[in-house]
């Protein structure tokens, strides 16, 4: 059984490494991520949002839903911590 598990892990690893062969190089200007929305953010962020920091404008404006979700996740973590750990003596 352990040998079977080892085989499964190795096969999955080989498949994943095989999958990375097709990936574009680091910083490749012709990769899909670099030709689809990135040029628009870089060129239009300043005139559309008047924010010099492109990271902030993408994080808070173009991807506002994403950041809202992140904040909800953090809030949920606090609520879970309160529910699980807080003990009050009355």
């Amino acid at each position: 059984m352990k040998l079977l598990a080892l085989f499964a892990v190795c096969a999955t690893g080989v498949l994943l490494i095989y999958g990375t062969v097709d990936m574009p190089d680091w910083g490749d200007p012709h990769s899909p991520a670099s030709v689809h929305v990135s040029p628009r953010y870089i060129e239009k962020a300043m005139e559309e949002t008047a924010v010099g920091n492109i990271v902030t404008s993408v994080l808070a404006d173009y991807r506002g839903y994403d950041t809202l979700g992140e904040t909800v996740v953090i809030f949920t973590a606090a609520m879970a911590c309160i529910l699980l750990m807080r003990r009050r003596r009355k």
């Binding site: 008047a50 902030t56 404006d61 953090i74 750990m85 807080r86």
Partner: protein, 161 residues
């Protein structure tokens, strides 16, 4: 160990460290001002709500470490802290809802220009600042809340002796 020695170490562990407390008392206001700067200056430099909120929360945790939890709770009670947890999220989603009411899509800040005396582009900048403030408040309160629960096993009374 001899009982007297044990007693001595116990007494020392309850003593307040003058150097640590003085340094923290001087340092904490500057840390908090820096946290506010990181939130407010996120438009033009690395930073934003998450980072600034963490710095604000860390200043409060430093207060808990240098003094104790009761001293920290005198500055911010757990009720206020829990309200702040929700307040930041309410600010964020409230700004989104205001945009919705003004006729745009959710979180489309350019619609804020209809109620603020600025053009739509600057309105988006102001909307970003507003949600960064909301994120900062939530992250700060969550840091404090989780730290207090973990440090005192949820009792908020002793702990960190």
């Amino acid at each position: 160990m001899h009982p007297t020695h044990e007693k001595a170490t116990k007494v020392i562990s309850y003593l307040e460290d003058v150097i640590l407390q003085t340094v923290c008392r001087i340092l904490i206001p500057f840390i908090q001002v820096y946290g506010l700067y990181v939130i407010a200056h996120g438009h033009h430099s690395p930073g934003g709500g998450f980072q600034g909120g963490v710095i604000l929360g860390a200043s409060f945790i430093l207060l808990c470490v240098a003094y104790d939890i009761n001293e920290a709770k005198r500055r911010m009670t757990e009720k206020v802290d829990t309200v702040f947890c929700s307040l930041g999220l309410i600010i964020y989603s409230g700004i989104g809802l205001i945009c919705l009411v003004l006729g745009g899509s959710y979180l489309n800040y350019s619609r804020l220009g209809q109620v603020l005396p600025v053009n739509p582009v600057d309105a988006r900048s102001i909307g970003i600042l507003g949600i960064e403030i909301g994120v900062g408040i939530t992250v700060m309160a969550v840091m404090i809340s989780i730290f207090l629960d973990l440090a005192s096993r949820g009792e908020h009374e002793e702990g960190l002796e």
